[in-house]
């Protein structure tokens, strides 16, 4: 046998043979990706460095059985900072691909299609940043119809499709239209006058606050401010904004990530587009555009969002915007 050639194909080799996997062995465990990653805010066990380590040590079974391998949403915050130039999200995708081939399934929530309501218009497929939705032909009520189907391995449950669907036929668990409405109204927030203080509704994405202090500050805002956390600013359906304004909210602030830092690749751009359209509509019908605001927070911007909300409240108080 030749020394230079390997005959046994290990798990590590298999991952390295996948597109994006080739630089795996460069990793020297500096942990830059781990601390850059925002997923450990919601899932403290998630550690991309450790997953790469497990692959390098050929721990096939343990890797696939680790529920955290499905978490990476390819936001690529880590990759530009990796001193070894490892495309971590592509590596994670390579691991997922092999896992899917071996019959493993993502335990994470995904989008769900209500096939009864769906008209097969295909807007969702175009909106999805992951290509997780595709139209398939199905027989429903004896009729052959085209409806979208979710690829569970690709869907990251960002809810961009749900916001895009004109028929509310697609939704993501925990962030359905009903649940978001319930969060806005909880404690009869819309009905109470709050002593005449102008009410501010904030739709905040789950990933734009890196600092612990900022996350704490968001929980301690005055009662006339309501923060509704959505997975992504792309989840915000313009109808949420309109119905809130109708119900007497003085201003709605939608906060997403800086473009290029979006946890779901395109969500913040999609939200930006939607809010822009909303502003155009407001201008056409003569409504005050300053009542709907959109902001993109960079991952290094400590303290910006809480300060911005307090400034908005102060501005509304001084301007005495008449409550509709």
């Amino acid at each position: 046998m030749e020394h230079a050639e390997k005959t046994v194909r290990s798990f590590k080799d298999e991952v390295m043979a996948e597109p994006g996997g080739q630089h795996l062995q460069r990793c020297y465990s500096c942990g830059t990706c781990v601390s850059m990653c925002l997923i450990n805010q919601t899932c403290p066990d998630y550690n991309p460095r450790r997953i790469l380590r497990m692959v390098m040590l050929d721990m096939r079974q343990e890797t696939f059985e680790n529920p955290t391998i499905w978490h990476c949403s390819s936001c690529d915050l880590c990759y530009p900072h990796c001193p070894q130039g490892i495309r971590i999200s592509e590596l994670m995708q390579a691991i997922k691909n092999i896992a899917v081939r071996e019959g493993y399934e993502s335990p994470l929530p995904t989008s769900q299609v209500d096939e009864e309501k769906c008209s097969g218009c295909d807007v969702c497929e175009k909106a999805c940043p992951y290509g997780a939705l595709s139209l398939v032909v199905k027989t429903i009520d004896g009729k052959e119809r085209k409806v979208p189907q979710t690829n569970k391995a690709l869907c990251m449950a960002c809810g961009i499709c749900a916001a895009a669907c004109p028929l509310s036929a697609i939704t993501v668990e925990d962030h359905s239209n009903e649940k978001i409405a319930a969060r806005i109204q909880a404690g009869h927030w819309l009905k109470k006058t709050r002593g005449g203080e102008p009410k501010v509704l904030v739709f905040n994405c789950s990933w734009n606050l890196r600092a612990e202090d900022d996350r704490a500050a968001m929980a301690e805002l005055p009662p006339n401010v309501r923060v509704v956390t959505v997975p992504c600013s792309g989840r915000v359906d313009p109808t949420f904004v309109l119905s809130a304004l109708q119900a007497g909210v003085a201003a709605v602030l939608v906060a997403g990530c800086e473009p290029g830092q979006c946890h779901y690749k395109q969500g913040t751009r999609i939200a930006q587009g939607r809010m822009h359209t909303l502003h155009n509509m407001f201008e056409q019908v003569g409504l005050d555009t300053s009542r709907v605001r959109f902001v993109q927070i960079g991952t290094e911007e400590r303290g910006r969002l809480p300060a911005m909300i307090m400034d908005l409240v102060a501005e509304l108080k001084s301007a005495r915007v008449p409550v509709a």
């Binding site: 942990g31 601390s35 600092a211």
Partner: protein
């Protein structure tokens, strides 16, 4: 430095640039240009009366820009020689310094650059290093957050002769920071900037931390590191003592620093690898240990001295293990960080070694060189016949050949290193290389291809890399087919295209030309000379009707034994796949044209005899 300035045999020429270097080992002619100081060196006594009256204040380079300096200044307090200089870009010509200088009358605005040629025996390059600018690493916020500073800035703040008189204060508010963090490997061990480890940052960071802790025992000090590298004598013990002093070491490379705009404090985010969890650490000041990088003018200096750079950008040594102090050009020696990042003891050791290497030359009347130098047959050189040529001079990596139309080319033996590039490139076969003459190589070629040449893989190997690679394949037991026949020359530059034609004429089944990877070439640019030739040759051989798989060019380092074996295996495999009858036909078909190409070989001295002997 003061000792050097006082030494009767040492002349210090400060503020002077090397413009040109001619000649060779022991006999260099060096053109230097002394820049105008606008201060008369003989009259100025360094009293310093001029500087305080100067109204101009600009950032002081020596103080890392933290403190100002005047337009008339000395670089730093210990400067040798202690003579002032006027920065004419900043000067407004108010002439207050002239008044202050008074009777000494040392200031002279009429000074011009002065050039002079010097006779020099040997040259030492001790140009040092630059510091990496961390502002390009956006996530650390240097230049954006005032309290993120470099280790060099800390050195100045911490220095009792520095701008704060040794009182440590942070830039944003001048307060003493009690909670500080050091970040290691900023711009080094990072493929985005510099792949290498600077080697001495670990030690100076530990030193800074210890100093801080000794003067401020309550200070909360953290060092973020990937690996602590303390390989020299006594270093690890120092590191251990530092840990015992209560300085916190966190293994983990910070990914991002955010700033609280109200307090100016910094929040460092990193994974504590030992803990396996992300932490956010608040610090009042962050100090970045930046990479040591090659001096900005390394390229210009290298072309003046005719010395090359390694892939990391520092000057390349002659041999990394056996001649680490010598440069590729004889008589030029490297010391300190100009050759690669190193700490003080290593710089001192290399400096002393370089000085003694250089002194050998100064004390010798004669100098022994390698005997494999190039030699011109004056009667064959067309330059001697008044025709314009000079190809040999353009291919020489050492500028060892001078060509003057009307005279034969002249090889300065002392500068020649024996790569053989000129020999292979000369279109009139007017140059030869001693011990690697055309006759000798052709004799070997004939011997190697004497029996069943169509079944052989003929491999031309360069002495330093691919021959080493073949050797490595042997010592590492990487097997390759016995059909390989090796022919060693000094450099791929020596592999004359006529040798390849001759090999195919003799019916060689396969021909491999192999040499160093471009950055490893032992003869600075020899590999490039060869590579250029083989690129053209590949096309020519195809035009001749030789199947493309029969000729291969590979760059194989001395460590790549496995690659060498692999290449030979592949070539042997490819040869076996060719139908023997078809191969025979191809050899016969191409022979007349090949014969035409090498028809002038027997004109070269000794070659005819070699061919004669080969027939026997």
């Amino acid at each position: 430095m003061v000792d050097a300035a006082r030494h009767p045999n040492i002349t210090v020429m400060s503020y002077t640039e090397v413009k040109r270097v001619e000649g060779f080992i022991g006999n260099f002619k060096v053109l230097v240009e002394e820049k105008p100081r606008y201060v008369n060196m003989d009259r100025c006594n360094g009293c310093g009366a001029c500087s305080p009256v100067c109204p101009i204040e600009i950032p002081n380079e020596f103080e890392e820009g933290i403190a100002p300096r005047k337009a008339i200044y000395i670089p730093h307090a210990q400067a040798v020689p202690l003579r002032y200089v006027i920065d004419l870009d900043a000067c407004i010509h108010c002439y207050k310094c002239v008044d202050a200088c008074g009777k000494l009358d040392a200031i002279d605005f009429s000074q011009q650059p002065r050039q002079q040629w010097l006779d020099i025996g040997s040259i030492l390059v001790a140009t040092g290093f630059d510091n990496f600018d961390p502002s390009v690493i956006k996530e650390y916020g240097f230049g954006r957050y005032p309290n993120v500073i470099t280790a060099m800035e800390l050195e100045r703040i911490n220095n009792s002769a520095g701008p704060t008189a040794g009182r440590i204060m942070r830039p944003s508010d001048g307060k003493f920071p009690n909670k500080i963090s050091f970040i290691q490997c900023v711009g080094s061990r990072d493929e985005r900037y510099n792949l290498y480890c600077s080697g001495f940052c670990c030690m100076y960071t530990i030193k800074n931390a210890v100093q801080w802790k000794q003067t401020h025992p309550d200070a909360d000090i953290t060092i973020f590191y990937m690996d602590i590298r303390t390989p020299s004598k006594g270093y690890e013990e120092f590191y251990r003592r530092t840990r015992e002093m209560g300085i916190r070491f966190i293994q983990g490379r910070p990914s991002i620093i955010t700033e609280d705009t109200k307090t100016g404090n910094l929040f460092i985010q990193a994974e504590d690898v030992g803990l396996g969890r992300t932490i956010e650490l608040e610090s009042e000041m962050v100090i970045l240990s930046t990479a040591a990088i090659p001096r900005i003018d390394t390229d210009a200096m290298g072309s003046v001295l005719n010395i090359s750079r390694s892939p990391d950008g520092f000057f390349m040594e002659y041999h990394p293990k056996l001649r680490p102090v010598d440069s590729p050009t004889d008589g030029v020696f490297l010391c300190g960080a100009a050759q690669g990042p190193k700490d003080i003891p290593a710089s001192v050791a290399q400096g002393s070694a370089a000085a003694s290497r250089a002194a050998r030359i100064l004390n010798a009347d004669e100098w022994e060189i390698e005997p494999i130098v190039a030699m011109v047959w004056e009667d064959r050189c067309i330059s001697a016949q008044g025709k314009k040529c000079g190809i040999c001079a353009t291919k020489c990596p050492y500028n060892a050949i001078t060509v003057e139309t009307g005279k034969a080319a002249v090889v300065t033996s002392a500068k020649c290193h024996g790569c053989g590039g000129c020999v292979a490139e000369c279109p009139h076969n007017a140059i030869t290389q001693k011990h690697f003459t055309d006759a000798q190589v052709i004799a070997q070629l004939h011997a190697l291809l004497k029996h069943e040449p169509e079944k052989k893989v003929l491999a031309f190997m360069c002495h330093w890399c691919s021959y080493g690679g073949a050797d490595n394949a042997g010592t590492s037991h990487f097997e390759y087919p016995a059909s390989q026949r090796g022919l060693r020359v000094m450099c791929s530059a020596r592999m004359d295209q006529d040798f390849v034609y001759e090999a195919f004429r003799l019916g060689a089944g396969m021909v491999l030309v192999s040499g160093c990877h471009p950055q490893d070439c032992h003869y600075i640019t020899g590999q490039r000379v060869g590579a250029e030739r083989f690129e053209k040759l590949t096309k020519r051989l195809v035009d001749l009707g030789i199947s493309p798989q029969r000729f291969r060019v590979e760059w194989i380092s001395a460590a790549e034994g496995a690659k060498y074996a692999q290449v030979i295996r592949e070539m042997d495999g490819a040869l076996r796949k060719i139908d023997p009858q078809a191969l025979k036909e191809e050899i016969e078909r191409t022979r007349p044209e090949l014969e035409r190409r090498v028809r002038r070989l027997p004109e070269i001295p000794e070659v005819a005899r070699a061919l004669e002997l080969a027939k026997v």
